[in-house]
């Protein structure tokens, strides 16, 4: 049976089937949630914590979801906001500037066991990591998730034009990084 968003929302609205609905939601979205977070924060342990926070927030607030956008868009918005908030907190906690944070992450990423050993892929991830985090979010949503600009606009509360420009500059930076290394 296909798990539709309508079915999840209908079951979630009833007290006796709320947990069942949430299980279906996790079955359908947990990997998308995890990987969309992981692409922004990079490290598994960080992505795991944020994924748990996102799922707890979905549990708490899904009954307030009004259906103004699709459920996927709503979830993506929570993932991006939580990831960016997490990075800000981490920078403050470690007392790191933007460039120090990138250097710190590049070193940490090299030691992460849960990354592909492919050298070209490693280089691509380093290039993505060197982007400012908001631009990184734009780049990963478009590049990996192939999210339409209109949907990205709802997720990031930014105009379509600004997002197109941001993605264009991000892609250029990544290509420049790859050609230099």
């Amino acid at each position: 049976m296909e798990i539709t968003d309508e079915l999840i929302l209908k079951l979630f609205a009833q007290k006796q089937t709320k947990e069942q609905a949430f299980n279906l939601l996790m079955q359908k979205y947990q990997q998308d949630i995890y990987f969309s977070i992981r692409r922004v924060v990079f490290l598994h342990e960080d992505a795991k914590d944020i994924t748990q926070n996102v799922l707890l927030k979905i549990w708490r607030y899904l009954d307030k979801f009004r259906g103004d956008s699709s459920l996927r868009t709503w979830i993506s918005k929570i993932c991006i906001n939580e990831s960016l908030t997490f990075i800000e907190k981490k920078k403050r906690l470690l007392n790191l500037s933007e460039s120090d944070y990138v250097d710190f992450m590049l070193k940490t990423v090299e030691e992460d066991h849960y990354l592909s050993a492919d050298k070209i892929q490693q280089l691509l991830q380093k290039a993505i990591l060197s982007l400012p985090e908001k631009q990184r979010a734009v780049f990963t949503l478009r590049y990996y998730d192939e999210m339409p600009y209109e949907e990205m606009s709802r997720v990031l509360n930014t105009s379509v034009g600004a997002l197109k420009a941001s993605y264009h500059f991000a892609a250029k930076k990544v290509e420049d990084f790859l050609s230099k290394h």
Binding site: E19, F22, N23, M26, Q27, Q30, Q31, Y34, F35, R38, R39, H44, A47, K48, T51, Q52, L55, L56, W59, H113, Y114, L115, S116, D118, I120, Q121, L124, Q125, Y143, Y144, A171, V174, E175, L178, S179
Partner: protein
């Protein structure tokens, strides 16, 4: 250099084995723990509210008493007043004894007795 599109590999990030199988259970356990904690928290708030009402009520009665309770509290708090209420001192009204009355007094009393007894006001 390869084109960006050619490098698009979705499984660059690896996860520990069984991570996605375990994640729903972990989340549901956390939710259950959180809800239990919330229930206890709500009960604690109700208990604290009741305790606060009792304390405020007691303080109000003690420090802002009604006039009746103020008198009784004042009496009970002061042994002097209590003994005064229980054993009032003799009044200063002079006591008149029969031996001090003379003849004229008896005449006056008799006169008034008759006046009063004959008075229509009594009937």
């Amino acid at each position: 250099m390869k084109n960006l599109e050619e490098l698009k590999e979705k499984n660059y990030f690896h996860v520990p084995e069984g991570f996605f199988e375990q994640l729903p259970n972990d989340i549901l356990n956390t939710i259950k723990k959180e809800e239990k904690k919330n229930r206890l928290y709500r009960k604690a708030i109700v208990a604290a509210a009741i305790a606060a009402i009792v304390v405020i009520g007691s303080v109000t009665i003690l420090f802002f008493p009604t006039p009746e309770t103020a008198v009784s509290v004042a009496i009970s708090n002061s042994p002097k007043i209590e003994s005064f209420v229980e054993n009032p001192p003799p009044t200063n009204t002079p006591q008149v004894y029969e031996e001090e009355l003379d003849n004229i007094d008896y005449q006056i009393m008799e006169y008034y007795n008759e006046e009063v007894l004959n008075s229509d006001y009594l009937y």
